[in-house]
Symmetry: D2
Subunit: 340 residues, 4 copies
């Protein structure tokens, strides 16, 4: 049994995480923190948790976390996370950080895209990128996991087999991604006010979404063994009127002749040991992976282009589910515990 803490308990990813951990036979939630003054009970923050956990939030105190927990899940905004992480690690707490703070290995890239300096560059260098399908070996020994972004996981899982096999051109990859509204977080704003975004569809952050450098960094790493070119993507996110789910439609230029059949085989082989990636023949629907830790994907060849279509639940496989998957690897549980 591993005692865990939830640091930053008020958002959607924290709620999903708590629900998953309550099903986990080897995890016990000992502490939850919130910046709210009134120390709300978890079931006041999240009424769906009523009857399942009896815990009031506390203000964040690293000594207190270290006293009761061996692993901390951080669901804080970026910027806030890198303030808390060193405090926890110096007290021996292993950290799974769901923010963006430890995902970009180059701190200058972080500063370019997040508009503030990185205050924990040494942490940055020690963090392991928590995508088990690619880094299953490194995660068990990690003391700090940078849990991937939701668009990022979708895009990387969709492209890694092609990049690793050196089958596609590394620039000009187009990722047309579509996300449900929960990906925008829990703070009310006009763009996510129901009568504004319901029954509507739009692109946003065109050419400047912060998951772009993360996708490129990881895929460049994936491709390193095969060839030296960096991966460059054109990433276009869209807001879709639904709660959950991301679907990415990806267009790449093959370097030689390819067939759908061979590509599907390649993908199946690549993900043979990954229980949460389902390579399917049909065109996947987000609903079939919603509320699950699965990523569904397929491949098509259209007029000489390779299309990869991948989807997952942004709050589960795109955030809290993969966090539990990382936790499982870090604590010696089967990778799927609490996730089926």
């Amino acid at each position: 049994m591993t005692d865990v803490a939830i640091v930053g308990a008020s958002g959607y990813t924290a709620r999903e995480l708590i629900q998953l951990l309550l099903r986990h036979p080897g995890a016990r939630i000992r502490l939850a923190t919130s910046r709210k003054d009134e120390a709300p009970r978890l079931d006041a923050l999240h009424p769906s948790l009523a009857g399942r956990i009896d815990l009031a939030c506390e203000p964040f105190d690293p000594d207190r976390v270290a006293e009761v927990a061996r692993v901390a899940f951080l669901a804080l905004p970026h910027g806030a996370s890198m303030a808390a992480v060193p405090e926890l690690r110096s007290r021996g707490v292993r950290v799974i950080d769901l923010s963006a703070d430890y995902r970009l290995v180059d701190e200058t890239v972080y500063e370019d895209w997040y508009d503030h300096p990185h205050t924990d560059p040494s942490g940055l260098r020690e963090a392991v990128y928590g995508l088990p399908e690619l880094y299953r070996e490194a995660i068990p020994g990690a003391s700090l996991i940078a849990n991937p972004g939701c668009y990022t996981s979708t895009s990387i899982l969709a492209l890694a087999p092609l990049v690793a096999s050196n089958l596609i051109e590394r620039s000009g990859i187009i990722i047309d991604a579509k996300s449900g509204v929960s990906g925008a977080g829990r703070s009310p704003k006009l763009t996510t006010h129901y009568p504004e975004c319901n029954e509507s569809l739009s692109a946003y952050g065109v050419g400047r979404h912060r998951h772009t450098p993360e996708i490129e960094q990881v895929l460049t790493g994936v491709g390193r063994s095969a060839a030296g070119d960096p991966v460059e993507v054109i990433f276009t996110p869209h807001l879709v009127p639904m709660d959950r789910g991301i679907l990415a439609t990806i267009y790449a230029q093959p370097r030689g002749a390819v067939t759908e059949h061979d590509l599907l085989d390649l993908y199946r082989e690549f993900y043979r040991s990954s229980p949460f990636v389902r390579v399917v023949n049909r065109l996947p629907s987000t609903k079939d992976s919603a509320y699950s830790n699965f990523c569904d994907l397929t491949v098509r060849v259209v007029r000489g282009r390779v299309l990869v279509i991948a989807c997952l639940d942004n709050l589960i496989k795109g955030a809290s589910g993969v966090a539990v998957q990382n936790f499982n690897l870090m604590t010696g549980h089967p990778e799927t515990t609490a996730l089926f």
Copy 2:
């Protein structure tokens, strides 16, 4: 051609009103006001208006309104409206007020339900309640129209024939009402944040919604000729995950034996001269009256109770459409101009 002003242009009812007036052959929008400092263009506030109207908002100035417009539509929050109305009326501008400020004839009732004193009691006494189906005679000569609430119109249109005919008990009437989210206005808040209210249904304001005294006041007036008892309702609003539409399911105790057939006849006769009330045999769906100025309703008898089921578009027939209907009556146009 009547020159009109829109006072308070940033919300949904203002947007709908402008769209209707742009189709009106006898109305010209000369002025729109907004409390925002930057004097936004109307198509910046409401991108759907791009290419249809070329107007920048101004701060509210009663002299300026009186200079350019003969009729002002006020789409202000309650409280703000009763500050502006006397300023406009004293300058000779006729007012159609879409707020709640002039709907309750008794200022003490207003103060009980709205928690602040009424500052224009003389205006209150002169206002005509703008529900044309009941007050078609009084509206043409009015200088101040209190445009009805959305739940209110639905409930009153559904019950007026029964109350006027003295066919039901006047207390214990149950109005179980359901509304789309646009009825909650355009200010973002947690309850109307998309991931909170999408795919969810809940009651709210149980026993204390401010449309309760308005429904009771008008229906009591309707029933006055038939018998003296005040009407008393139990009004329960619900929030439904859709943009538009209100549906009220109403349960009343008949005073004697009734049949569906006779009741439908009664309703058809009652609304014979009302082009926007459609008495239907089928159970109405909100979608069939959405984006229109129609109110659809039907009647059923179940185990000795009378059920009335009525629906309308809360932003059109429940707000801006009926405002234009009132404008038509006030300016000598056919009641249906710009509304079909």
Copy 3:
């Protein structure tokens, strides 16, 4: 470990049931049947099950079911169920029937509401109504469970404490119920075609929904000890544009003075041993019980009427979750196994 069969695997309740059972440490799905000729795999019927279960459907054969399973869950249409049930029971298979076929104890009532004769009246007399909150004692020994309807469970859980305590009048109870669209099943038809029911709300089956006699029968039984009058309800279902969730707003006439505080206490006491009923102070939202086996409810007193507002997930607590709850009781597992 109990071997189970799913008879009728193609609908939504079967899919939910399978997902719950796959998490159950004491159940093993050995067989699934489908009337489709092609013997589809479960993950072809339900792509969300891919990677979780490797099973192809078979045609229904009672010998085969009896050979491999000790408990059968039947998710067949009414009418079809009562043909299969005796075949299974005569072979020693315990049955949890999710259809309506064994819910009404009086076969003439069944025939009145379902328009065909009941062909297994002896089964009818032996069936135990599978609402654990009321019949927790009888379920463990049952060989045939009539799993309750979704509207029914919502309404009964909401009213049972009041009826059992003899606090309300037994006639004239109004149940204004609202359901998500999955309650209408998986067969495409115009009323559930997306562009018809999305963004729309309507009542349906007014005065003649088949859950009416079921609610009345069970509540009459609940009230029997307190007083002899049968319970009579006016039940009005509505279709709401969302996937899941039922919310019932119930209006009853108290027999004497009541307070919200005392009523909430009464409810908390009544459901003290029922882990899936959450008596809450707030007005519940369907979303907080969606995808869970909880029923959330609260009580209000408005103008001398008692209002009960109750909600649950129609596919889980309203169908498959309660089926697993019954299975747990029948097989000696804790009531909550696989349901948190």
Copy 4:
């Protein structure tokens, strides 16, 4: 006043068309046809039309149509349309055909994509493609209009300025398009059953959607003056859980250096005389053009690629609105009549 007939009145485009024509001061609906035996009233087919038009459908009879109408709008399935069109034209009725039957000028292309022979090749040669923004000159004199497809109009309006100006490569153009569910028509099927497609997103028809050759044919024609290469697109449609709206995100390779500013100027100039194309600076949302005849679009340059993002209401600007726009041009009305 022009007398018109609606041939095939039961679908969504027919309903929208009738609503637009009821607002048209120069059109009178004299006849509507339906293949249904029972000759339903229009307001039985479409309850939203109650109180607006009093007409019962008739079976299709070309003599009868020719007797009462000078212009016929055909909202028939492809295949059925080319059977009716010659019958009407030979009787002197001008036809606006909303099906796909007359859109592809090369009948062998038609046969390849629609899997049956074209039975009216001479009609095919005389039809004018009804996209007023490109063919405003040819439409007034036409006796047969091939009204464009919804994805088609979106894509063509988005790309025509770039192709006409010879600014982009003509092959490898990626059109990632997303549509609301009404685009799938009114016949219930599993993919558009509410609980299947609500809260879900998926691609469909990848590489084989029938709007592909239509887009290519028209854009190739647009580009003919500038250079001879045919246009080739990779077109990927997606189904989005909303009623209305198409948004296309388009990726093209510029032939030389381009800037967003210059491209926006180019678009504004290209559509200077087109009142229904709004070139906007912001990223457009489908909701802002929903229920209108506008097409909103903008241009971005991202990492050397040109992105065009365009949207419109598939039932209005993508079908019935542009049909009325064509009608206006054919009958000498201002292009915008009944469409603002």
